[in-house]
């Protein structure tokens, strides 16, 4: 076979495997999603030919008996709750994950790899199984309530299940490794002598954390926040199992549209919305990062 002479053609040829992979596994599905979101719903699932904004209209409006559009905040509430819960889960992961990551970096090499292994260990078990474990823990007369009732601390159920709190705990539990690992990676490079230098220059522990550790861990903290926030926003296992039907998040809503509700265009439109929120978040982060780089001049 004769190879193409043109260097530009040859370069594209070399890039082909990567381009095909990205095209087939990323761009094509996104494109299908985008197309589906503008098509008509087939009552038995799937989509019918035709072009309509119906999928997007449904996010904001409900059709009443006279086929008139009535504003309906149900789905907006779900989107809002998703953003709030995902943000709180990110914050929770950060507050718990930062000290854990710092603690790990202060151990000797053997203990470090052991602890990192333990942090990633839950990934080896099915997410559903792990989330079911939380049902046992949080449920009425569950692992937490039973001993408290036995000791007479509480009389009635705490009603922990099917609350925003339960969903939040589930999200923090699921995604905290994604916070700990990047922060660990950036703290691991931290020169411990800088902490000594700060102590030497009259900084107490809190000031050392604020002035030295957190600023130098910033790249890891930002990466961790994105890695936790993005999947939390679209999560559906924890909201489904721990929030029940009552505390829906976007992920479960989308999943429902493709499965039981059989409204693919609406599900696709919601997925595009979710994507838009994620893109806006990432662009905002990129802008902050660019400004930081401009300030530090590095």
């Amino acid at each position: 076979m004769e190879l193409p002479r043109n260097p530009v053609t040859r370069r594209w040829l070399g890039l082909a495997p990567a381009l095909i992979t990205i095209g087939v596994f990323m761009i094509l599905p996104m494109f299908i999603l985008l197309v589906f979101s503008f098509m008509e719903a087939d009552p038995y699932g799937g989509v019918d030919a035709g072009f309509t904004f119906e999928g997007y209209i449904q996010i904001l409006y409900e059709r009443d008996f006279d086929d008139l559009l009535q504003f309906d905040a149900t789905y907006l509430n779900i989107i809002g709750r998703s953003v709030v819960l995902a943000s709180l889960a990110t914050l929770g992961c950060l507050v718990l994950g930062l000290p854990v990551a710092y603690f790990i970096t202060r151990q000797n090499a053997r203990t470090q790899s052991m602890l990192l292994f333990l942090i990633t260990l839950p990934f080896w078990t099915n997410l559903l199984v792990r989330t079911y474990a939380w049902i046992l823990i949080l449920a009425t007369d569950g692992v937490i309530e039973q001993p408290l009732k036995f000791l007479g601390v509480i009389d009635d159920s705490l009603d922990m299940m099917y609350t925003n709190g339960a969903v939040g705990i589930g999200l923090v539990y699921t995604y905290i490794p994604l916070m700990v690992l990047p922060i660990y990676a950036s703290l691991e490079k931290l020169d411990f002598r800088l902490i000594e230098a700060a102590h030497d220059l009259y900084a107490d522990r809190i000031m050392v954390a604020r002035q030295v550790i957190i600023p130098l861990a910033a790249p890891g903290i930002i990466a961790g926040c994105i890695l936790v926030f993005v999947p939390s926003l679209g999560a559906f296992v924890a909201p489904d199992l721990l929030g029940g039907g009552r505390k829906l998040m976007m992920g479960s809503l989308i999943q429902t549209q493709f499965a039981s509700a059989r409204n693919w265009p609406f599900g696709s439109a919601l997925a595009i919305c979710l994507l838009a929120i994620v893109m806006i978040t990432l662009m905002y982060q990129a802008r902050i990062a660019a400004r930081r780089r401009a300030e530090t001049g590095s």
Partner: protein, 363 residues
Amino acid sequence: MTETNKSIAVSGRNVVKQFGSGDHLVTALGGVSLEIDDNEFFTLLGPSGCGKTTLLRLIAGFEMPTEGEIFLFGEEIEDLPPHKRSINTVFQHYALFPHMTVGENVGFGLRMQGHNDADIAKRVEESLALAKMGRFINRKPVQLSGGQQQRVALARALAPRPKVLLLDEPLSALDLKLRQAMRVELKTLQRETGITFIFVTHDQEEALTMSDRIAVMSEGQIQQIGGPQDIYERPINRFVADFIGDTNFLEAEISSIEDDFANCRVSNDLSFKVQSIAQHNKGDKVTLAIRPEKISLAQSGEVQGRITDAVYLGTDTSYSVAISDDITLSVRDQIDLTGHARFTAGDLVGVGLSADAVRMLID
């Protein structure tokens, strides 16, 4: 307990530091006592692992002593954390905060002490001027050379005007010319600021050129404390004599004792009358030391030797001179005006050994 003598900046009493436990117990400092005067340039000198850095870290507060007390101007400080001691450190690898500018680095200690912005700005400027780094106030540490980072580290440690400044081998990462220039500058800086400097180094030349007093350390103990000349001219034991400068060691036996002096017999035709440093008896074995540059060479002399090796060193020639079958001396001889060595290997020479230059050592 409090010290009454206020002119002593730092003192340690029987300071012991051990790391690990059980079978892995390592004694880094085995009961060190010392007093460092106010306004003194004091150097801790010794090979790596001698405990000098451990002692410095105990004074800074990065480590707590296993036993003993440390005082700062009479106040007992060994239990205080580093941020509560008016002591600042210039770290070996500078440890500048990479995310802060030079100005922010230098101002860090002042900010933590709660000075107001105007005061901080003024003192940052002063400190940078002192370290000749004023032009670099807005740079980041990565944009500076090693020598410049060194100066910033110095300015940062001096800005809060500590009572004592600790310097942990601060010149070891610099090249030779810069290191020599910085020695002079550090000494000047110490005199100008009047701050007590405690300087850690393994470089004997550095110690001799800068210090008011030197503590020579080995194996967790202070071997000798004294001025540069004391240490060089009157080393107390074999370790000090060997570590600082080059030394010829001669094994001798005391043949007779006269008052403070002992006649030490090295061989049948070589003996010296040397000042005793301890209570000796006739027949005791002692070690004598003589510096290579204190031995003179001539065409002929009382003691005969044969040159076995001559090494050209630029300013000097280093000869190995065999004066008997089992004694070979190292001798330093200046290059003459024409730039030639006076002798070559194989020459027979007279070796001038003055008893005044010979020291008796405690082994």
